[in-house]
Symmetry: none
Subunit: 423 residues, 2 copies
Amino acid sequence: MITASICTIGDEILIGQITDTNSSYIARALNKVGIKVVHMSSCSDSKRDILNTLKRCLRMSEVVITTGGLGPTKDDITKNVLMTLSGSNRMVRSHKQYIIIKNILSARGIQMLDINRQQAYVPENCTVIPNRIGTAPIMQFRFPKEEFGRDNLLFSMPGVPFETEYATNDVISAIQAHYKLNRIFHRTICTFGIAESVLSKKIESWENSLPANLHLAYLPNPVLGVRLRLSIYGISEKEGKEELDKYASTLKAILGDAVYGEGDTNPQTVTGELLLERGATISTAESCTGGYVAHLLTEIPGSSRYFWGSVVSYDNSVKINTLGVSENTVKKYGVVSSQCVKEMAEGVRKRLGTTYSISTSGIAGPGGGTPNKPVGTLWMAASGPKGTVTATIVSKSTRKINIERFAASALDLFRRSLLAGKI
Amino acid sequence: MITASICTIGDEILIGQITDTNSSYIARALNKVGIKVVHMSSCSDSKRDILNTLKRCLRMSEVVITTGGLGPTKDDITKNVLMTLSGSNRMVRSHKQYIIIKNILSARGIQMLDINRQQAYVPENCTVIPNRIGTAPIMQFRFPKEEFGRDNLLFSMPGVPFETEYATNDVISAIQAHYKLNRIFHRTICTFGIAESVLSKKIESWENSLPANLHLAYLPNPVLGVRLRLSIYGISEKEGKEELDKYASTLKAILGDAVYGEGDTNPQTVTGELLLERGATISTAESCTGGYVAHLLTEIPGSSRYFWGSVVSYDNSVKINTLGVSENTVKKYGVVSSQCVKEMAEGVRKRLGTTYSISTSGIAGPGGGTPNKPVGTLWMAASGPKGTVTATIVSKSTRKINIERFAASALDLFRRSLLAGKI
């Protein structure tokens, strides 16, 4: 299997000023075509660091991809380092890149200076892949097996994320033209409402039955739940798909309604899909989640087709006056109660005139709580034409994570109740 | 200067399913206390890879911080690798962590299983830093100079971002207790509403006047605005403070009311402080921000003292029926207009009975928009006993970033209007 290393270059990454998103973008693209990324690293804008890192990467994997350090300013030295690494004696001008630079600058009304002209120069031992949307060319170097023990290709790409993303396609084509690639296939099953350890116990015998070339990974997240990713290596597309289908169906049968979807989805997207299928609308009545359920729903472009609105009732007066919760309920059961979230959900559904509604009331922390209702307690409800369902959970985390988990749990209660025909 | 390497462990990073945000978080925290990050890397969940990477890191820097691979499931093997690396002969139980695991599970109503119990076991040669918000303990290992050529400390932290962030403080304290660190002092001035390039032009001559040991960093963020961090090195605490005070006052005088605070604050915290000082309350009426202003306000513990609630009016019927926006306004000016946000703000203030209110209506994208009101247009209002102020901005970014910038801009409009005595 062909392997790859990704190396991002720049002081701004090491001081944490920038979160590196290029590496994961490139990794996803490589993975898709069956190249396994074995190493990622970030190094500073220093000649010694870049040189050491690149040599190490060349020994570790066939393909090495670097981003960054190609700007026109003095602190960007990647090109000089690549001149040394490739044993080039001089820089030569790439005519294609020169024309691109000229056109980009003139379109922006900027006069071409020496530092711009220099961007078209590359070490003589490289092949240029023109960068059609930026001034720095993409450079491809080949190192035969004698140099670092592998038949290496090294690519240097600009570090500006949209240029990196654009260049990735061309780089992948160049890799495919050079190596004979194996394929990898993935399938991700998304679950909600079962803790990672319980899940792992539940699927233990299934997990033990997996063949050696099938790998399982657990990906936990407060909003996304626990996602289970199955990866299969070294197999044809047809066989890979069949194997994944087989194991995924068994897994889904074991997990039942804890599975809310597959692949790159999330509870808010699934909620939207369920509503669109039914031509239905939804509203939310939120206390402790403070608008976060509404935020999740409206993160999705086009959510205005099914999301009508929310009443965030942080103060009890809003619960009573705008949502119509009875004062007696508040007095008798408190606002963190099954009775209160039921009245909230029914109240907002009536007031906003939607098919369905979701409500939340709880204690996000860090303060508050009682022995019976500790910090992290959530009561939630989902309501619809067939009735109202309420449920409770306890989340022991920070305020931020509690709010996220509360909101996603309420969406999940809606999904389960709807699919069970209860609301 | 003490140096550090950060190593994130997990197949999910190498296949690009997860963007590593832990490294930049930890790098920023280390930077703040004067530790230089010289290397970042990501490796797979394989014993050989982890071991090689950690050994390399230990040779490169005094401090090595790893995150990930500590879950209860089979694919997480960091702890076994650390057992080998540290030459431990057996695992011992951390009593403190055991109690935490027990409490977390019982609060979630989950039965303790063997795999949970195992999480409390750590290699005998490590010091445990209890993880109060998660089940996996933080482990600290010491390697004397004879082993890797440096007086090394290695820390293994859980990889779930909120646990990593929580653990970082404790790890920094442990580092400070072990090494004699150079002194570094910071002061951060938080601004909102001026673009980075405009800001940089505005403070150019001030920036040129800074002494060599005083460093300025721009930290732009859609919610936090542009924060300007001043750092001073190699100086006594008293002198450092005096120098920072001097340059910070000049900077603040240049920037005027664009400065909303200092240090680790944010627009939502400042909003809360302004309201508490006045014993006042607030509500929001949100269209395009879909509850995100309410979410920002309720992120702050204790916000129930001043935040009463919100009406998220995604559908026009909610604007008209619940907020009392006139149908004529919607017809004549459209919902993305000064007139509409004025009526929304005044409507929610009246309905919820709060001292002040904030409203938003705009086009978050990616679809929608017209030549006059392009995607990214926001109208917002702040209302109070003295009147209502409206304003508009255009944000050219993704839907997610537009929503964040819109929400923070509305909070900033409230701050400026309140302090100017206009609402």
